[in-house]
């Protein structure tokens, strides 16, 4: 019998498998995806948020524990467990040498991400390069890896893990780590969670999934049925407004459209619905998915003029381009009259100021509802560009309740040999909101804890037997 079974194939699963193997356990890792799609959502990530007291190789200045904690507290609005959060924060300050030993390489923050150069360590080549490095290391250390092996049931013996089922096959192990991601790729579940809106639509039907198609949430569901303690709200998801032409799955980073704060956002009736200049884009991009999801048809249209070109990350799909605003309205399929009324009203409301996209500048609208608080410049310089946007789900927050040992809980009691890591428990630390790179910090910290505890559980199990 194998010592530690790891269910999942992304960052958290690999961290667990490597740590358990380093602790002397025999390890089998089951990845639901085939080899070419391995790595779950980790393949689309690019950095990890790191606490540090002094400048390091790729990290500038310092990012002390308290500041990291305050940032987390702010974005979650208190929906976090301080003990677990501080565990993650401290682990983030020591995990990089371990990652480097397993082949992960780091690079300075990317061009266009200066705001992260102090807080986030970027993986050279991104998350897929990280995943590749971990798989290579796992292979070299003798971790068994099986691809295309989705676990569809977990057998419990009271609070103890007894075995896992892959199709008709039963796999036993002394301990198990669940790190199989959230349920964001499960269209049925999303539909059910989001329900019907006031116009009789099923909003989730129009969502795109930014990450892997393999996060079906099967094991979250099985563990709910088995009576495991749950955290998080199924209707909550990290949701970004992305280009409507993005593929249904795995669109990743390139499908974002970063010019919202430089223009106006309209709904399908050609009307504005939220303050585009409320705060810096990196702090606001994640609210627009939900805002667009709440519009009829779950669609939004971002309109800019040529003054904005070159001031934002180039989008993967070129926008609709027109020399006049009425032409742009037609190309976007928006009602021309409303569109022109909105734009004229907006342009007239822009108060003169000194435009500066790097600060909360004084270019604001006056007497407009909703206002645009910063970077409000009249949209008057052709050519004009428009992008149609849809909600893009990054991940869901629903997961299994856990403690500092990464144990799955049943009725408040920790399981002696079933552990959880990654997206399946991130909701303990991140009950709401998001800040860049924190998902990878949680996955790495809890992946390693889960691997360690699972290896220990095998030894203790052997003593008791």
């Amino acid at each position: 019998m194998i010592d530690v079974l790891v269910v999942g194939g992304g960052n958290a699963a690999l961290c667990a498998a490597l740590t358990a193997r380093e602790a002397g356990a025999s390890v089998l890792l089951l990845e639901a995806a085939p080899r070419e799609w391995r790595g779950g959502n980790s393949q689309h990530t690019r950095n990890l948020r790191c606490m540090h007291e002094a400048p390091q190789d790729v990290l500038q200045e310092a990012y002390p524990e308290e500041e990291f904690w305050q940032d987390l507290l702010k974005v979650t609005g208190g929906a976090t467990d301080e003990k677990l959060a501080r565990l993650v924060i401290r682990a983030s300050s020591t995990c990089r040498p371990w990652m480097a030993r397993h082949g992960v390489r780091f690079q300075p923050s990317l061009s266009g991400t200066l705001h992260l150069s102090r807080t986030n360590a970027f993986f050279m080549g991104g998350g897929k390069a990280l995943v590749n490095a971990f798989y290579r290391s796992a292979q070299a250390l003798g971790v068994q890896v099986r691809y295309g092996a989705p676990v569809d049931a977990i057998e419990m013996d009271g609070g103890r893990f007894a075995g896992a089922r892959v199709g008709g096959e039963r796999i036993e192990a002394r301990a198990c780590v669940l790190a199989a991601g959230g349920f964001e790729s499960n269209r049925e579940w999303l539909r059910e969670a989001w329900g019907r809106n006031e116009w009789g639509e099923w909003p989730a039907d129009n969502f795109l999934v930014r990450g892997t198609r393999f996060n079906q949430g099967t094991l979250i569901k099985r563990m709910m049925e088995a009576g495991a303690d749950i955290v998080g709200d199924p209707t909550q998801a990290h949701c970004v407004a992305i280009d409507a032409r993005a593929p249904l799955y795995d669109g990743g980073i390139v499908t974002r459209v970063d010019c919202v704060s430089l223009g106006v956002m309209l709904n399908r009736y050609g009307r504005r619905f939220y303050d585009e200049g409320e705060d810096f884009w990196p702090k606001r991009y994640a609210i627009w998915g939900r805002l667009v999801a709440q519009q009829q048809g779950q669609v939004g249209y971002c309109v800019i003029d040529s003054k904005a070109v070159g001031r934002f990350m180039p989008p993967v799909f070129p926008g609709e381009c027109a020399q006049t605003l009425p032409e742009l309205a037609q190309q976007l399929g928006l009602p021309e009259e409303n569109f022109m009324h909105t734009l004229q009203e907006f342009n007239a409301a822009c108060r003169p100021g000194t435009f500066d996209h790097t600060v909360l500048d004084d270019c604001a609208t006056a007497g407009l509802e909703p206002p645009k608080s910063h970077w409000a410049l009249p949209i008057d310089t052709p050519p004009f560009y428009g992008y149609m946007l849809r909600p893009g789900i990054t991940f869901t927050y629903l997961g299994l309740k856990t403690n500092e040992d990464a144990a799955v809980h049943f009725g408040g009691r920790p399981s002696p040999n079933l552990f959880v890591a990654g997206e399946m428990m991130a909701g303990n630390v991140l009950g709401r909101g998001y800040t860049a790179g924190v998902g990878m910090s949680i996955g790495t910290a809890f992946g390693r804890i889960a691997g360690q505890r699972a290896a220990q559980a095998c030894k203790q199990g052997a003593l008791h037997a």
Partner: protein, 390 residues
């Protein structure tokens, strides 16, 4: 993805279905992602731009060393529907560079028949020297004196001309290439002083990057990928052996020419002489290097590079390998009756290498150096797009 392709093509004004249009499509995706920035110079150079002209694409393609790191790290690589295979897209443009800038222009077509060109040149050149050796007749051959088979003056003239022509043809191609990509083309007047100031340090940096093959290091120094996502320094080392082996062999020839014409010292040279020491050290490099490169080429991931270019790649490497192998054979056989045969074959191989040089893979070094120079210059100039700065 047809829509994305069409839009990228329209933006860059490139003809449909060309290697450049496909590269522009992939660059548009890469520029929205940028995860690979640390691997090499191509991605930092890319982020300075929002759109990619034909000249930009040829510049970036030649800046790419085909290390392959970005292929394995790419979240959009096949089977993803974005089908980003960046090293392959760059390789397909590079061969277009060699073709389009070749001089004389008509000879660019030779790249399309690289395997045939190599084989015919080799057969023709060996036959030429064998026929000449036959007309000289074996009775005149004394000991290890090559010049009783072929007069020194003839060899110096024939090989000197072939090599000089190769360099001339390549420099003509390079000049045309530089006319299209020179950083001076789109530098605003305000930045001209910066450009002038950048030239010397940029040239030094580019020379160093070429001499060290910095960008076969993968950015982290672990090397490049080949068959899979594993990094290895093998390719950099085999290339060093090949290139510096070639340089040493060339130096041996130069020293021998100097000895002959200036010092009046004639071949065969003793084993402890400069021509033999340089030639055999270089020759050893030219055996091990190309052998290693061929071995790596046979194992390379099909999306890393363009399999259609294998005849060009392997034909050139094979000629280098054969030049060295036949040189050593000549060293061994120079005191035997087989010397004229061995000499004819060796000279035939070297001549085949020389006559194909301007239209072979050899050209890559010239365009690569030009691209490295451009990169070293432009990174010292301010960026025009805000999104590259932040």
């Amino acid at each position: 993805m047809r829509e994305l392709e069409a839009l990228a093509r329209a933006a860059a004004g490139l003809a449909a279905g060309t290697a450049e249009a496909e590269a522009a499509r992939q660059l548009q995706i890469c520029n929205a992602c940028r995860y690979c920035e640390g691997f090499c110079a191509v991605f930092p150079a890319m982020t300075r731009r929002l759109a990619f002209s034909r000249a930009d694409i040829h510049y970036l393609a030649n800046l790419c060393h085909n290390c392959g790191a970005c292929l394995h790290a790419c979240q959009y690589a096949p089977p993803h529907e974005f089908a980003v295979a960046f090293p392959q897209a760059m390789a397909k443009v590079r061969v277009r560079t060699y073709q389009d800038y070749a001089w004389p222009a008509a000879c660019g077509a030779l790249y399309r028949r690289a395997g045939l060109v190599t084989a015919l040149s080799l057969a023709g050149a060996i036959a030429f020297f064998l026929a000449m050796a036959a007309t000289t007749g074996p009775q005149a051959v004394t000991g290890a004196d090559f010049y009783t088979v072929f007069p020194h003056r003839l060899l110096a003239w024939v090989f000197g001309t072939a090599f000089a022509f190769a360099l001339f043809a390549l420099s003509m191609g390079l000049r045309r290439f530089w006319r299209d990509v020179s950083p001076a083309i789109d530098v605003p007047t305000a930045d001209r002083p910066l450009l002038a100031k950048a030239r010397a340090p940029a040239t030094a940096e580019a020379a160093l990057d070429a001499a060290r093959l910095t960008y076969l290091g993968g950015g982290h120094g672990d090397g490049c990928t080949n068959a899979d996502d594993r990094y290895s320094l093998a390719r950099r080392r085999f290339h060093h052996l090949t290139f510096y082996g070639f340089v040493l062999c060339f130096a041996a020839t130069c020293v021998a020419t100097f000895d002959h014409f200036v010092l009046g010292l004639h071949a065969p040279y003793p084993l402890a002489s400069w021509p033999v020491v340089l030639g055999s050290t270089g020759g050893a490099g030219l055996l091990a290097g190309p052998a290693g490169l061929l071995w790596l080429s046979a194992r390379r991931h099909p999306l890393q590079g363009d399999p259609a270019q294998r005849p060009m790649d392997r034909g050139f490497i094979t000629l280098l390998l054969l030049a060295s192998a036949t040189g050593f054979a000549l060293l061994v056989l120079r005191q035997t009756p087989s010397m004229p045969l061995a000499l004819s074959i060796h000279l035939g191989v070297v001549m085949a290498l020389f006559v194909t040089l301007p239209w072979s893979k050899f050209a890559h070094g010239f365009y690569r150096c030009a691209a490295l120079l451009k990169h070293a210059v432009e990174k010292r100039l301010p960026v025009r797009s805000h999104s590259a700065r932040d």
